[in-house]
Symmetry: C2
C-alpha cells in the first residue's frame, strides 16, 4: 500500500470493510502509461472504479473514458468530462441508452453484431462506430469468454453496412482479456486487426481508429511485466503492420489505473480449526467476501496479496472465506494461502492492490451486510 | 406466476429489471409447510428475501426467524418479531454482533467451532447455543461446501464445553444444502444427528432442540417432490430415532417460502447472431444478469424457467447473458435453453419463481446499473 494509505489506516482506523484509495497513485499510473504509450489516447475503463474523485482527477489530466452504460456516461459528464472524450464501449446497449447518450453528445459507439448496428443507426444516426473483434484471451487471468466480439469475416461485412446505414465506420477494437500478463497477446491481436483494417481502408472505408482495449495487469501475488514491456510489444506490432501511417490508437486501462492505488481493509471475524487433524488448514473468515466486493476471487481467478499485523511470524495453511451464510462465499481454498498462526478474530487484514472492481461490485445487502465504505484520499 | 403478479405486470408495466412478489403466496407457502410439519417451528431464513413486507406478513402468522447477521435481526425486530422468535443462525459472527444481538434479547445462537463458542460465552453469557454438524449435501443444487459445520466427534466435545463456559447447550443443527431435491437427505441427516443427540442427553446434557435447517426446494424448470414427501421422510426418521420423545424441531425454509411468490421482469437488450453458422445459438442479452440479482445462476446451478410474449412459437437454442461488460456475466451456456425465434430487443422476459435470493444479492452499481426495483403486492 502507498504511504498515504498506510497513514490513513493508522490514523483513522476506519470501520471495516472499507476501501482506501490514493488518488495520487492513480495520477502516477496515468502519467506512467501516457509516458510509455504517448501515441495512444487513454480511455479509462470507468467500470473499474467510477468514484467521482477518480473521474475528476483523470478529467483534469486530460483522460478520455470508456463507459459500460448510460449511468457511467452521466457520471463522467458530472465529473467534467466532455462528450467527445467518452466512448460507449459496451456492445450490449438498450435503445433508450443509445438515444440518451447520443442526445448528450456522445458520438463514439462499439458494436459487434448486425442487430446492434441497426439499433445504433436508428438511435444515434451519423455516429462514429467501431467493430469489436473476438481475439484469443490466452494469458489473461480474467478472460472475457465468447460474450463479446465478432469474427474478422463478419466484421468485413458489418463495416460497409455501417456506412450504408448512415453511420461513420470509424475503426476496430479488441480485448485481450483482463489481467493479461503476456505482452505478445497484444501483438498478435494487433496483427489480426491490422490486416482487416488495411483491407477495409483499401476497399474505400475511411477508418481512423484502432482500440486496443484494456487488460493491462497490476501486481497481485506474482510479478507482472512492466508497462514498458506492453508498450514495446504494442508499438512494434503497430509499426510492423501500419508503418508510418498509424491510425489513432486507443487503450482502455481500468485495473492498471486504479488497482495498486487502493487497499481493502478488513477484519478477521473468526479463525476456526474445525478439523482436529494437525495438517488440516485453519478456516479464516473475513468481514468481506465474494459478494461483499471481492467478486473477482470467483474461481480463485484474482489472487490478492494479504498483509496482517503478525507478518514475519510463523505461518500455516488457511482457507479464506467471507462472512455470509452462503457456501459459495469462499475466497481461496486451492491457491496455497498461508497466514500467521497468531492470527485472531478482531485482527485487521489488508487486501492489497484492491482498487479495481470492488466497490460497485459489492452486493447491496447480501445477508444484510452493507457494502464496503470508500475513502478517496 | 400468480394471477396477482400477472395482473400487476400487465397493468403497471413497471420499468425493468424488477421483482414483483405476491405476499399471499408467501402466506400460502407458510400455511402449507405448517400443515405438513405441524410439530416443527418455522424459522424463516431471512436472507432469502428480507423485505419488510415479507417479515411483517410472516410475523403476523406467528413465524420465527433465522438471521444471518445483526442487520437481519434488527429488520425482524422492526417488523414486529419478538427476540424470542429469532435464531442467530450464522456460525461466523463478529463479537460486536453477538453482543448487540444479546443486548436486544436474542438468546439462541449457532456455532460450529471452539473459537466461536468462546466468543459466545464472552459476549452472550448464558445464551442457548446449538452446534451445527457437517452433513453430506448430495442432491442439493446449491450445496454448502465445507464452510460450515463440524464433525460428530468434535461436536461431542464442544457441547459439554458450552456448559462449562456458562452457556446452555440447547441442541444440534445441520443443513442438507439449498434446493435439496432428495427427501432422504433429511432422513439420513436426522439419523446422524439423533445418535449424537441421544448420546449427549444420556451423558447428562439437557438438550431440547433439533434444527433441520432449510434446503426445501422450489420448482424451477424441473418438478421437485411435494412438501409432503419431505415431511413424511423427516417425521419417519424422527420417530424411528426418537420414538415418542421428540425434541423441539426447527426448520429454516427460505427458498420454499418465497421462491414461487416472485417473478423478475426483465427486458431483452439484444439478440445477436454473431456466428453465421445456422446451428450456432443466438446470444440473448437481458437487462439483468449474474451481478444484477441472478447470483444463483453461477455455474448454472439454479436454472430459472423463462416466459416470453412469443411462447408457443418456433424456438431455437440460445445462450443467455447479462448486460454488463463482464465476460463472467453469462447465465446459461450449457443448460440447453431454447427461446422463440421471434424474440427481439425490447421484449419482456419473465424469470419465473425468482422470489428468493435476488434482491439483496444484486450488486449496488455493477457497470453503473442500479439494482432491480422491488414490488410487494
Amino acid at each position: 500500500m502507498t504511504p498515504k494509505v498506510a497513514q490513513f489506516l493508522d490514523t483513522h482506523q476506519p470501520a471495516t470493510p472499507c476501501l482506501v484509495l490514493d488518488l495520487d497513485q492513480v495520477e502516477a499510473n496515468y502519467r506512467s502509461l501516457r509516458h510509455v504509450l504517448p501515441l495512444a489516447t487513454i480511455y479509462y475503463a470507468v467500470k473499474a472504479n467510477p468514484a467521482p474523485q477518480i473521474l475528476g482527477r483523470l478529467t483534469g489530466l486530460g483522460s478520455s473514458f470508456d463507459a459500460a452504460g448510460i449511468e457511467e456516461i452521466e457520471q463522467c459528464l458530472a465529473a467534467g468530462a466532455t462528450p467527445a472524450a467518452i466512448s460507449f464501449g459496451n456492445t450490449i446497449k438498450k435503445a433508450s441508452a443509445i438515444a440518451r447518450a447520443h442526445a448528450l453528445g456522445v458520438d463514439l459507439f462499439a458494436f459487434d453484431s448486425e442487430e446492434e448496428l441497426r439499433k445504433l443507426a436508428a438511435h444515434a444516426p451519423g455516429a462514429r462506430v467501431y467493430c469489436r473483434l473476438m481475439v484469443v484471451n490466452d494469458g489473461a487471468e480474467w478472460p472475457l469468454s465468447k460474450k463479446f466480439g465478432t469474427s474478422v469475416g463478419q466484421a468485413r461485412l458489418l463495416m460497409p453496412l455501417a456506412a450504408e446505414l448512415g453511420l461513420r465506420p470509424w475503426g476496430l477494437s479488441f480485448h485481450v482479456g483482463s489481467q493479461q500478463t503476456d505482452p505478445l497477446a497484444y501483438a498478435k491481436a494487433v496483427g489480426e486487426a491490422a490486416m482487416l483494417f488495411t483491407d477495409l481502408t483499401r476497399s474505400g472505408l475511411d477508418l481512423r481508429f484502432l482500440n486496443l482495449g484494456g487488460g493491462f495487469p497490476t501486481r497481485y501475488r506474482a510479478d507482472v511485466p512492466a508497462p514498458e514491456a506492453f508498450a514495446d510489444a504494442i508499438m512494434k506490432a503497430m509499426t510492423d503492420h501500419f508503418g508510418n501511417d498509424l491510425p489513432d490508437m486507443a487503450i482502455e486501462p481500468g485495473r492498471s489505473m486504479v488497482g495498486n492505488a487502493g487497499v481493502v481493509s478488513s477484519e478477521v471475524v473468526l479463525v476456526s480449526k474445525r478439523n482436529p487433524d494437525p495438517e488440516a488448514p485453519r478456516w479464516v473468515y473475513l468481514d468481506i467476501g465474494r459478494f461483499g466486493g471481492l467478486a473477482e476471487t470467483e474461481g480463485e481467478a484474482i489472487r490478492y496479496r494479504l498483509t496482517t499485523p503478525h507478518d514475519g511470524q510463523a505461518t500455516g495453511p488457511v482457507v479464506l472465506a467471507g462472512p455470509t451464510c452462503d457456501g459459495a462465499d469462499i475466497l481461496y481454498e486451492r491457491s496455497g494461502y498461508q497466514l500467521p498462526l497468531a492470527l485472531r478474530d478482531g485482527d485487521r487484514v489488508a487486501i492489497e492492490t484492491a482498487g479495481a472492481y470492488v466497490t460497485t461490485y459489492a452486493a447491496q445487502s447480501f445477508n444484510g451486510f452493507a457494502p464496503l465504505a470508500e475513502y478517496y484520499i
